[in-house]
């Protein structure tokens, strides 16, 4: 019995450790005070106003949306095509290519950032949206590859053979069978790519100019230089978005599972 109580206490405390910080920051988004401490004197939406109407924050949000959308499009197209290509077992160096595709997840962001800045400076792409989108795509694309590869691995190859035997040409098989079945994987890959871009700070520090300051970058310097409850308001939006994204991913996965 004491074993059971110990286990329960340990599990509860760890859950508290994991989740409490995320919950603690939420009410501060609605404080009327200028400092980020409890107790909250009175409730107000002023920090959300700040977030959406103060120039620096508003531009950061817009930049994040532009760069996030660009990254999502580029990473999803490149990653989905590559995952489809990787299906072929006859490709030489298949394992090496797959490792290369996943490696950007492993390489420390600062290292990649240094190299990226040197390289993009050579192309004249620093301080440009294109440069930031390219940098974000490098770190976002592994998520798309993993997600789409997973969805494709779940497709019974004989389903595609059956479609052929029933009279569908290879392009029709792809359009009517392969793509619809891979779609949940493509969608969750796209969501993960967007989330990666939204949260990316380090590469942005290296390659973005003042005009490409993203929300994450703005939060970083805000914490570093003059922390204000606008951070909490931004965090509130992030956590809300996370929960929505998580629901989308979970739902699309369960849709995928249901079809089997």
């Amino acid at each position: 019995m004491p074993m059971k109580i110990t286990k329960f206490a340990f599990a509860s405390l760890t859950i508290l450790f994991l989740v409490a910080p995320l919950i603690a920051i939420l009410p501060l988004a609605f404080t009327s005070s200028v400092i980020l401490t409890y107790p909250i004197p009175s409730w107000s939406l002023r920090w959300f106003e700040e977030l959406f109407f103060a120039d620096a924050w508003r531009r950061a949000i817009v930049n994040s949306l532009i760069i996030g959308t660009g990254t999502t499009l580029l990473a999803t197209v490149l990653g989905t095509a590559a995952a489809l290509g990787l299906r072929n077992r006859l490709i030489f160096f298949r394992g090496t290519i797959r490792t290369l595709f996943l490696l950007p997840m492993v390489v420390p962001a600062v290292v990649l950032g240094v190299g990226m800045q040197v390289l993009l400076a050579g192309f004249g792409l620093t301080n440009s949206y294109a440069g930031v989108i390219i940098a974000h795509t490098v770190v976002a694309v592994p998520f798309v590859v993993v997600s789409v590869t997973g969805a494709l691995a779940g497709i019974d190859e004989r389903v595609e053979l059956a479609a052929q035997s029933l009279g569908a040409s290879p392009t029709t098989v792809f359009r009517r069978v392969t793509l619809p079945l891979a779609m949940p994987g493509v969608a969750s890959g796209a969501v993960l790519a967007f989330a990666t871009s939204l949260d990316e700070v380090v590469l942005t520090l290296f390659v973005a100019g003042p005009n490409q300051r993203t929300l994450a970058r703005q939060m970083f310097s805000s914490i570093r230089e003059n922390i204000s409850p606008a951070i909490a308001a931004a965090a509130f939006l992030f956590i809300a978005a996370t929960i929505i994204i998580a629901l989308v991913v979970v739902l699309s996965r369960s849709m995928l599972a249901k079809r089997r």
Partner: protein, 355 residues
């Protein structure tokens, strides 16, 4: 009858591995042919080549006299049924069955009519709106069947279609498919490793071993007149006894067993006196008597074990040189171990096989 499908000296290599070797096979229109053999014997590969999923390394596949090697799968007009059913998980049952008709540009109203008819044929009309994942295995297999038949293909290919079903359902489906074959006059090529399934359903059975056809014939031929030791052992159960041919007279041969006993046996193929051969004796053709009767072949044996198996009595016997098995009808009397009996069988129930 003219040949409808012809495999003309087909060979298939996977890298260094030869899975089909110089194989010839002809199939006539309306015929139900089973390709029977253990896994890895090349039967599925042959079917995959006929469907166009694989290309033969050498040789031609002819359909009504024209080579179809270069015709891609989607233009071959063959309905394929897979063991895993291979239904489109993202389409309803009705959409699955409509798919081949859409591919052929059939009009909407016509599609509706034909889908309804095809589902009706397999008694699934009520489930047209369901997703495949909501159906049982047997229902999914019937959808796959109606999807493969709805566009009236020239040939229907089935790759172990009943392998995933339980025994009772499998036997029901065997009869259903046989019935469809007769009613619609389909040409069916059916791959299976289940010998009783092949015997039940087929007009002809081709027995595969190591990339070659060992024997092709009606179910009765391959069972009663096995041409090779492999066929005798793979189809049903048999007693194989070694002996030396003493004389050949027409379709019968005299064989001396190692125990010295003389056996008269039917012969298929050619054997010469002095040759070492096997005799195949089906256990259910062996009679046991306590006194030497007037049967042409009679071996002195002793019962070592007997097991009651419901529909028959299985008796293990030991002759001077080799064990034998006899299956007796359920009305037979018991034979306790140690009983001395004679195992008797006619010359026609025994077959000489060249090794």
């Amino acid at each position: 009858m003219p040949e409808f499908i012809r495999f003309d000296r087909i060979t298939k290599f996977y890298g260094p591995l030869c899975v089909v070797e110089n194989l010839d096979l002809g199939i006539v229109k309306g015929e139900f042919v089973s390709l029977l053999g253990p896994s890895g014997s090349g039967k599925t590969t042959l079917l995959m080549m006929l469907a166009g999923f694989e290309q033969p390394t050498s040789g031609n596949i002819l359909l009504e006299g024209t080579a179809i090697n270069a015709v891609p799968t989607h233009k071959r007009d063959m309905g394929v049924v897979f063991q895993s059913y291979a239904l489109f998980p993202h389409m309803s049952v009705g959409e699955n069955v409509a798919f081949p008709l859409q591919m052929r540009g059939v009009g909407k109203a016509e599609i509706e009519k034909r889908v309804a008819r095809a589902l009706d044929m397999v008694q699934l009309s009520a489930l047209a709106e369901r997703r495949p994942s909501q159906l049982s295995g047997g229902q999914q297999q019937r959808v796959a069947l109606s999807r493969a038949l709805v566009f009236e293909p020239r040939v229907v290919l089935m790759d172990e279609p009943l392998g995933a079903l339980d025994k009772q359902l499998r036997e029901q489906m065997q009869l259903d498919i046989r019935d469809l074959h007769r009613r619609l006059g389909l040409t069916i090529v059916f791959v299976t490793h289940d010998q009783s399934e092949a015997l039940t359903m087929s007009d002809r059975v081709a027995v595969f071993n190591k990339g070659k056809i060992e024997q092709i014939g009606t179910p009765r031929q391959v069972y009663d007149e096995p041409a090779t030791r492999f066929v005798a052992e793979f189809i049903g159960e048999t007693n194989l006894v070694e002996g030396v041919v003493e004389a050949v007279e027409g379709a019968e041969a005299n064989v001396r067993l190692t125990s010295g006993a003389q056996i008269v046996s039917a012969v298929s193929g050619t054997v010469a006196p002095g040759q070492t051969v096997y005799l195949s004796i089906r256990p259910e053709r062996v009679d046991l008597t306590e006194i030497r009767g007037d049967a042409r072949n009679c071996l002195e044996t002793e019962v070592t074990d007997s097991v009651y198996q419901g529909d028959h009595l299985r008796v293990q016997l030991q002759n001077a040189a080799y064990p034998l098995i006899a299956k007796l009808g359920r009305r037979s009397r018991e034979f306790p171990p140690g009983t001395k009996v004679y195992a008797a069988f006619s010359a026609g129930d025994c077959r000489v096989i060249a090794p």
